[in-house]
């Protein structure tokens, strides 16, 4: 009989099994439920229901609206913050960065509670501006996720590239538009992904700010409460699809970055 030897590879087995059981299997279950009806028969009804009902289509549109506006606002606020921090020569810039991302570690429901109290005081009644409040709440919640990746890419930006642009005759604005901005696109994209998807699904922010309109996440919650797992699974599947498209899109960018980095490393090896 062959003796059993310990090998490093076997350490991965428990985690592999765990992922198969609790990540892969749930996805398969969702796909199964999304394409069956209450009698357990194959059905496209859930899919056609989603795309024919004005309610669900409206929800999808509203989710996109919230997500697009939130992402834009967060980007417009986060970019200058990240830019100023990354380019500044101050001694303790990581400490200042920490100030901006520290709210991430405070439970988001408590932070939204705090925001709610302030908004109530300012607006009197939260129901006057539901969309605005939602965007403020989402931005408040997700801003650190936008700052962090942009800051990281801007920090990696080689100063000699900016000097080269200046050397070739570009003024500050030109340098920013033609060099800094294009080179920070990878950071912007990962920031956008990290803000856009949660903005479509985090319905707790809407609930807490008394916005009764549904977003995609609220649909899942509603179907779940109604024990309608088939339609709920279909919504989950559609969200998964959106996420997949986003991920493929970002991976393409990440790959390009990886490539150029590899070449850079090779270049250094030649020294």
């Amino acid at each position: 009989m062959k003796k059993w030897y310990f090998s490093r590879r076997q350490l991965g087995i428990p985690y592999g099994l765990f992922l198969v059981c609790f990540v892969a299997a749930p996805l398969i279950v969702i796909i199964y439920y999304a394409f069956t009806n209450g009698q357990g028969r194959f059905s496209m009804e859930n899919l056609s229901d989603f795309f024919t009902s004005p309610n669900t289509i409206g929800t999808l549109a509203y989710s996109f609206g919230v997500a697009v506006v939130t992402t834009c606002v967060a980007l417009l606020l986060a970019y200058p913050i990240a830019y100023i921090l990354a380019r500044s020569k101050m001694k303790h810039k990581t400490a200042v960065l920490l100030i901006f991302i520290m709210p991430m570690w405070i439970n988001f429901t408590l932070r939204i509670t705090a925001l709610k109290e302030i908004l109530t005081m300012l607006e009197g009644n939260l129901s006057y501006y539901p969309f605005l409040n939602t965007v403020i709440g989402m931005t408040y919640d997700f801003l650190p996720f936008m700052i962090l990746p942009i800051y990281t890419t801007l920090l990696k930006l080689d100063n000699s590239l900016l000097e080269a642009a200046c050397d070739l005759g570009a003024d500050t604005l030109h340098t920013f538009v033609k060099v800094t901005l294009p080179l920070s696109v990878p950071g912007i994209i990962s920031g956008v992904v990290m803000v856009f998807l949660p903005s479509m699904t985090n319905y707790v922010v809407l609930d807490m700010l008394y916005n009764s309109t549904y977003i995609m996440g609220s649909l899942i919650g509603a179907y779940f409460s109604a024990y309608d797992w088939h339609n709920g699974s279909m919504i989950a599947l559609i969200l998964l699809l959106i996420i997949l498209i986003f991920t493929l899109f970002t991976n393409r960018y990440a790959d390009e970055e990886e490539n150029s980095r590899e070449v850079h490393l090779n270049g250094e090896k030649n020294m």
Binding site: E163, D167, L168, S260, H264
Partner: protein
């Protein structure tokens, strides 16, 4: 107005960093139109900072920076008719080759057709025709280098700055690019300012070399000047291999070093303390009888074109390059032609002795020991409770590895008749009157030569004791 011959002038330029570190001090240099000038020096000597000040990325703390006679200190880099080839190329990774090269032209808003024509022409010049659409990261290091040069040249600058542009290339590629750059310079006729720490590169390419050390110009001259007539010990040591001996002028065109007298061609006043530079290829090995000095061969290394032979003569070690082999352990005679000896007037003469540390943290000093606060010499060191010297991390320092240089100024030594008065005794072997004092060379019993300044007259061969007050010793750690 006729443009003057001087394209750029640096007058009393200095640069001090925020932390008070003086990178460049009192820098004066005039560069003529069309010259190939190289700033040469070890890393941290201020050469790159000087280049960056010319480019405009760094501004001088003081002095004047004239371009065609006008001060450009306040002119931002994008307004200067100067372009730079960066150390690691700094090519824009998000743009292809064409857009990289066209970057400056597009900013100048040149017509599209002209941009295309100019980019094509400059690509031809760097031998990369048809590379317009290539992505930067698909290019090899050498190709990226050429694109970086093309990107700078396409703007037709008056001055091209090159910041160690060949540093990232392998040896063969570097040799090729050296020649190409030199040819390009000849063809274009514009001014090149080149920064490197590689002396061979500097000697090969330049019309004029500026040797720098610690923020100061050490010597400016043609490659031949710099090599053959180094102005001081630093230049001699940095450029090429060399033997440097301290010595003294003993008469008209006569110099004494290595315990022998030589004829030389540099006319220096009798009695002057000097450093003599002898290139390894200028020492001739002969039989012991015929040699001006004799010594024992301690090592022979085959180097391809020649042998590198080390000979120990008394206390002096001589490195010799010869096409003829020598036998290790053999006694040989050495001769140096007068033309092979380059005399440099010594500055700040000091008696220096390199020595080790004793177990109880004192210094070996010839036959005795010398008290010295070792803790203060080593940065971050401290004496722990057990009386052991430890470094900043708490680990014991291996004292056997530490070498200390003890130095004493000739003015700080007094001579005495009393044999027990001083710590060293020796015979006076040379004396020269220097106007207000005599300069003596005292050879101690341990065969070490000391230079002593004294107002009183002593005689040759007098046996004297050297009195050195303890506070006159200066200690420094040998790196």
């Amino acid at each position: 107005m006729e443009k003057s011959q001087n394209i750029i002038e640096l007058k009393n330029i200095s640069r001090t960093f925020d932390d008070g570190f003086r990178v460049v001090e009192d820098f004066n240099l005039t560069i003529q139109r069309g010259e190939f000038v190289t700033f040469l020096g070890p890393s941290g000597c201020g050469k790159t900072t000087t280049l960056r000040m010319i480019a405009g990325f760094d501004s001088p703390s003081g002095g004047e920076l004239l371009l065609n006679g006008e001060d450009i200190k306040e002119l931002p880099p994008n307004k200067r008719p100067i372009n730079t080839v960066f150390q690691k190329y700094a090519l824009f990774p998000h743009l292809n080759v064409f857009d990289n090269i066209a970057f400056g032209l597009k900013i100048k808003k040149l017509p599209k057709a002209e941009i295309v024509r100019k980019v094509k022409k400059v690509l031809e010049m760097v031998d990369l025709e048809g590379f317009e659409e290539r992505k930067i990261h698909t290019l090899s290091g050498g190709q990226q280098q050429r694109i970086a040069i093309a990107r700078a040249l396409v703007n037709e600058p008056e001055i091209l700055l090159l910041d160690e542009p060949l540093g990232a290339l392998d040896l063969k590629m570097r040799k090729e690019m050296q020649l190409e750059l030199k040819q390009m310079h000849k063809r274009l006729g514009i001014t090149f300012i080149y920064v490197t720490h590689d002396q061979e590169e500097a000697l090969t390419m330049s019309d004029k070399i500026v040797v720098m050390s610690e923020g100061k110009i050490q010597q400016v001259g043609t490659p031949e000047d710099i090599y053959n007539e180094p102005k001081n010990a630093f230049v001699a040591d940095f450029i090429g291999d060399s033997n440097i001996f301290s010595g003294i002028m003993t008469g008209k065109l006569r110099v004494r070093f290595c315990g022998a007298e030589f004829e030389c061609v540099d006319d220096v006043e009798h009695g002057t303390m000097i450093d003599a530079v002898v290139r390894p290829e200028d020492i001739i090995i002969t039989t012991p009888e015929k040699g001006n000095i004799t010594g024992k061969v301690t090592s022979v290394v085959f180097k391809g074109v020649h042998y590198e032979i080390t000979v120990l003569s008394g206390k002096n070690e001589l490195v010799i390059q010869s096409t003829r082999k020598a036998q290790v352990g053999a006694t040989v005679g050495l001769n140096i032609e007068p033309e092979g000896i380059h005399i440099m007037i010594a500055e700040n003469i000091e008696n220096r002795i390199e020595t080790g540390v004793t177990k109880d943290y004192r210094l070996h000093f010839l036959n005795g020991v010398l008290a010295c606060d070792i803790v203060k010499l080593i940065p971050g060191a401290a004496m722990n409770a057990d009386g052991v010297i430890v470094d900043a991390g708490g680990d014991e320092i291996d004292i056997e590895k530490i070498r200390v240089v003890v130095s004493v100024k000739p003015d700080d030594i007094e001579m005495s008749d009393d044999k027990n008065a001083g710590i060293l005794n020796g015979h006076i072997i040379n004396l020269i009157y220097k106007g207000d004092h005599y300069s003596y060379v005292v050879r101690t019993d341990e065969d070490e030569d000391f230079i002593v300044h004294d107002e009183d007259l002593w005689n040759m061969d007098d046996y004297v004791s050297l009195v050195i007050p303890p506070d006159k010793f200066h200690f420094s750690l040998k790196r």
